[in-house]
């Protein structure tokens, strides 16, 4: 059948520079480039190009330029190129359009409308290079008070997990991402004094000894979930939803269920790993409570239990219920959260921005006097340490970063994760591709990311005259907004700049 789809990218090869080394041919998992020995020429099939830039990066002579294709239909304000493309794709397949990575639509990014404060005259800024600067955070439920009686401090201190910096690696499952990528995240979390999240992909046994800085997810597929898994982790997280696809489950296609993935998830090789949309033992808040306590029982009440939800309309009420249901940590994943595969229509249209959800949830929990009973983790498109610092000021205890970590490892957001082909070796189980990600290098890059951002957070804290992160947490006085409407200011609990 004739496809009506036009290529998305244009490949420009500078023949003056091309040495016919064929690195591009070998490096493109989408088989875009080919070498014609008879003609001694390299050709490209642009229809297959996803714009991942792997060939351009690898070309030893910089002979390649990949850029969005400049074909144009008749200009139409309603029917964009993207709409036409999607329509054609569905007309040709009758299927649900998939995509990878987070929402790329121009919903308002509130971080870009918030500015931070700095100390001038009335109180001093602090020089983080010289003076102590504390980013340490304890995640977990805090008791309402410390009882002091007869020289005894009585405290029912539930499990706490310490992180040295408020940057945690998001749930990225082994299976969705490659073993190498997952290993890099694990080791970087370990070295960086933070945590990584298993997603629903389990935790390879050989990567367990000596490692505890892991949030073990218990999701609807229950993949890899057993007592060993739960008790090896620092935190157990019940995944209810994900920012990129609220209300949607997931399918790890059978071809991605390799022998190793199968071992880790403890499912048969080559069969789909289906994560149903709901957890079928949770249809209600009291069911959530049931699973929370099942997990507490399974872990001797020694691990904080986190519950992760997509940021949706009722997030504040739901979060309140979660805390009352026993969740020690509330994880909120916003509209711009990443994914390996999601129906595009869901990714682009469901959920609310994390900034608003965070502000609303933090405020609700405070109003109800239960904010201390749970830590708040937020996720969903955090791009730099500025976003993170603003999130702390809006009330987060720590921030999940997923896409940023992937980019640090090499991801170029080509959004083709769902194909199982990733030229950067991140989102693939093809051994030919996955080994492109050297876990050592990736780990180094991730540790650098954490280090760099932590230093920047310290700089920003210092500027505000704060030397311990907890003094910024929920401290919205250090935020001002620019260019927002009143309702947005109200939700964010932030005043306009100059106000």
């Amino acid at each position: 059948m004739l496809t009506h789809l036009l290529p998305e990218f244009k490949i420009i090869r500078d023949d003056e520079r091309c040495i016919r080394c064929e690195v591009c041919v070998r490096q493109c998992g989408f088989d875009v480039h080919s070498y014609d020995a008879e003609e001694d020429m390299l050709y490209a099939d642009e229809n297959k190009c996803v714009g991942c830039q792997r060939c351009a990066v690898m070309c030893p002579t910089n002979a390649l330029t990949i850029k969005p294709h400049d074909y144009e239909y008749r200009p139409n304000a309603n029917w964009s190129k993207e709409h036409i493309r999607d329509l054609n794709k569905q007309a040709e397949t009758g299927g649900v359009i998939l995509t990878g990575s987070g929402n790329d639509k121009p919903y308002r990014i509130y971080w870009d409308h918030l500015v931070l404060n700095a100390s001038q005259v009335t109180n001093p800024s602090i020089d983080p290079l010289r003076e102590p600067m504390e980013l340490r955070t304890y995640l977990g439920r805090k008791p309402d008070k410390v009882e002091f009686d007869n020289n005894q401090v009585k405290v029912d201190m539930p499990a706490q997990v310490m992180i040295e910096t408020p940057i945690i690696f998001s749930a990225l499952s082994y299976g969705a991402i490659s073993y190498q990528a997952w290993k890099a995240l694990l080791e970087a979390a370990d070295e960086g004094g933070t945590l990584c999240n298993t997603g629903e992909g389990g935790w390879p046994h050989e990567l367990r000894p000596g490692k505890t800085r892991v949030i073990a997810q218990c999701a609807s597929g229950r993949f890899g979930v057993d007592l060993d898994y739960l008790n090896s982790a620092s935190i157990v997280e019940i995944k209810i939803g994900q920012g990129a696809k609220p209300g949607i489950g997931g399918h790890l296609p059978g071809e991605k269920v390799s022998a190793d993935v199968s071992r880790t998830r403890m499912i048969p090789e080559g069969t789909d790993a289906i994560s149903p949309a709901p957890q079928h033992d949770i249809y209600s808040i009291e069911d959530l409570s049931m699973l929370i306590y099942a997990l507490k029982e399974a872990t001797h009440y020694e691990k904080p239990i986190s519950v992760k939800i997509s940021a949706v309309h009722n997030a504040p009420a739901i979060a309140s219920g979660m805390v009352r249901a026993g969740a020690d940590i509330i994880a909120l994943d916003g509209l711009r959260g990443g994914t390996g595969a999601a129906p595009k229509i869901i990714r682009d249209n469901v959920g609310i921005p994390i900034e608003l959800a965070l502000a609303a949830v933090d405020q609700r929990l405070r109003n109800e006097g239960i904010r201390n009973q749970a830590s708040i983790l937020v996720a969903g498109g955090f791009r730099n340490s500025g976003d993170i610092t603003k999130a702390i000021a809006l009330g987060a205890d720590a921030v999940y970063v997923g896409t940023a970590a992937l980019v640090a490892m090499g991801c170029t957001l080509c959004q083709k994760c769902y194909t199982g082909i990733c030229n950067w070796g991140i989102c693939t189980q093809d051994p030919y591709l996955s080994k492109r990600l050297n876990p050592e290098i990736a780990k180094r890059r991730l540790v650098n990311l954490i280090r760099g951002w932590s230093l920047e957070i310290k700089e920003m804290l210092g500027g505000m005259g704060i030397n311990a992160l907890e003094s910024l947490r929920g401290n919205r006085l250090h935020l001002r907004a620019i260019g927002l409407d009143q309702w947005e200011l109200d939700v964010l609990g932030v005043r306009g700049a100059g106000d």
Partner: protein
Amino acid sequence: MGRITLINTSRPENDMNRVKFENGRIRFDADRLFYKDLNFLLRDVLKEHKPEIISIHNVYGQRYIGTNLRQNVKIEIYGTPGNDLGAFMDGPTIEVFGNAQDGCGNTMNSGEIVVHGSAGDITGFAARGGEIFVKDDVGYRVGIHMKEYQGKKPTLVIGGTAQDFLGEYMAGGTLIVFGLYMSEEQRHRADFIGTGMHGGTIYIRGKVEEHQLGKELGKVEMKDDDWALMEEYAYKYAEHFGYNHKQILNRDFVKLVPLSLRPYGKLYAY
């Protein structure tokens, strides 16, 4: 101010009066005991005394019994254990003299649960190993998302019938429904059997209409090894519940298997 000491108040106090040693067995009275206390106490008792059999009496709704008891012990439960009986369980054998509630064997890894009665919804949910025998009926979504891996293969045997979504998303293991209390003409209750199933096998004794089956599975003929398997489990069932196992094999079985390992492969536009 003198030396300050820290006291952690989170651990429930043990009430050893509830535990009695009788003829080499341990008898445990759970009357009105909160589940957390019951399970803590149970763990302590098992850890200290390592009995082969422990019986728990006056159980009314206490949850999570058997969770995180990683040892070979037989737990007899008299009464009605609460939800998530044996959730995440890895090892023990539980025998319930009464009915079990919802979530029995949730995400179970290994061990055995024998219910002398009925069990509720999502029995055997996401189980990865072990065996569950239910004498009578079960509720909705039973055996859903069961899976198997290498040596681990869960088996769920239901003496009566099951309700809708039986074996939904099933990815492995064996689900057997004997339909013992039904006449030949009566059809099983469950609709949407095996929706999304992509692994494992369901055996149903008695009548099942085509419309009761999910789209992702199909009937196949019973072969000799299927009958051998039915005989094995009929025998075990009879051993547990005092039934004549030959009686179970006197009616036809429907064997249901997934049509594809990738039920949703064609759902998407790549």
